[in-house]
Amino acid sequence: MKTAGKTNSPEALQSLLKGQLFDIVPFGVAVIDRNMNIVTANHNFEEYFGKREKQHCYEVCKGLQEQCPQCNAKYTFEDGKPRVSDERGVDFHGRTCHYVVHVAPLFNDNGDVEYVVEMTTDMTETRIRQREYNLLFERVPCFVTIINRDFEIVRANEKFRNTFGDARGKHCYVAYKNRETTCPDCPAALTFKDGEERVATQTGVSQDGKETHYVVTTAPLGRSPGEVAHVIEISADISQVKELEKEMLDAERLAAVGQTVAGLAHTIKNLLMGLEGGMYMMDSGLQQVDPERIAEGWDVLQRNFDKTVALVKDFLSFSKGRLPVLKETDTNALVTSIVELYRDAAKKQDVELIHKKNKQKLTALLDPDGIEACLTNLVSNAIDAAMTREEGGARVTIRNYESENAVIFEVTDNGCGMDWEVKQKVFTTFFTTKASKGTGLGLLTTRKIVQEHGGSIEVDSEVGAGSTFRIRLPRERLELIAEEANKANSN
């Protein structure tokens, strides 16, 4: 036990250091003479290479029989200058190890180098980590680039090089997107600014000209807390997901066409049956000389002819298979215009029309004409439905809002509601509950337009309580369709 008083003097401290420093430094120290024999070594060195005094250093550290071809100790003996080198050797357990050696001279009183001190730091773990890191950097199934504050790529990984080509030194906006200036919504710029991680969805162009979609995460790389010197961009390639999404959209559109054709066939069958009935009555009326029956038959023919004309007209407008023309549209204003249009008609039927606006202005990329047609349809249906309410207070409520990154339009009535069977049929056939008034195309057209927007329409209904039709337009899909339309236009 040493007392505090003794260690207080500088001399005492010096003697303590002399006694213990050799063994407490966190690296191996060996002192060698001009014959490369180890004269002494510290505890760390012996633990690493084994207790091997009086042996040649090249035997101990590397298992060699003769001096290393590039011997730093030899040079230091010659010129008295310290040196550093990376070495590979064999440790006490016979395992290959990597270490850094600092070689420093120990001068005698004559100023000659009497001994050389070799200080070795183990790098084996670090080397393994580095290899792992390199493997990860190169082989991770993402595009990885490191950029500097000038947006120049200083390092890019294998997947990036395979997709976008060799890009070292190029600006990231050139390499990823073939742009001439920085991207307007650059997440890396924000990360440089505040050191925060960012995530963004981007579209680039691969070296073979293919569109490449990716979700990029930008993270700061910097040694000091102040300035972000580099940003690492890690991007997951979502091109395949986008491709699948597009295919799904196409499949949905095709399915809608199929259902429409099936529904059309059904309606035509009914019309044919009506026409046949009319003809039968005229025929048999003529044979029996029954003017009343002839007149009745004529009426039937007339009526079914008119229905056919109406159907063909509706069908033509339905089949105008144009891609929606998407524009930034104020959804509040769109709904307001429809409410204005129907307010008087609704009032005449004692139906109150209510618009619950989104609190803020809410714009969306959509085809205003198409969506207006849909809402017109739903509102006019809802007014018809609300009229069936037996007690007073018939009401139709229209809401527009945003939910889960989708634009929603909702039309609710407090009319008679629909049972399960009717609900199943509203979108699938040329179905009408309005007898001769409707052709059954209204909701079908609505659904078609909504599907062309990549959206969906659904209905909640309860017998006696009313129905809600809900149009849901996911913004991502709207963007996808806008892109498609742009491409179609530019071709």
Partner: protein, 130 residues
């Protein structure tokens, strides 16, 4: 049932022109007819008048032909009345209804527009008139 010698047919269809056609044609051929515009109406009239045969459309508002058909099957008194389906939806429906284990298939099936003499022949065959 004004004329007890005549066989009575209940015709269920939501299209007034189809009703008119079938009623006229079947009456011209010696049947008494009753008409109904949907499944609910049809089931009610079947219970009241116990017809000899029912022709039934499938796609109707209010209550569909499928439900009416099931209700008929569930009713002791009505179960044995032959049902002829006359509908616009494709033959897939025939397959569908025939593969349901819990109900017997309808006696006959016709797709609109119908061949009326074929329909008449089938009805006479079912009612053992030929």
């Amino acid at each position: 049932m004004a004329n007890p010698e005549k066989k009575t047919i209940l015709i269920v269809d939501d299209e007034p022109d189809v009703l008119k056609y079938l009623t006229t044609y079947l009456e011209d051929n010696g049947f008494a007819t009753i008409s109904a515009v949907d499944g609910r109406d049809g089931f009610q009239k079947a219970k009241e008048s116990l017809p000899d045969l029912i022709t039934l459309d499938i796609t109707m508002p209010e209550e569909s032909g499928v439900r009416m058909f099931r209700n008929l099957q569930d009713d002791e008194k009505l179960r044995n009345i032959p049902v002829v389906i006359i509908t616009g939806i494709s033959s897939e429906f025939e397959h569908f209804i025939k593969t349901r284990k819990q109900v017997d298939p309808p006696t006959a099936y016709f797709e609109k527009p119908i061949d009326r003499s074929e329909l008449l022949g089938k009805i006479k065959e079912i009612l053992k008139m030929i």
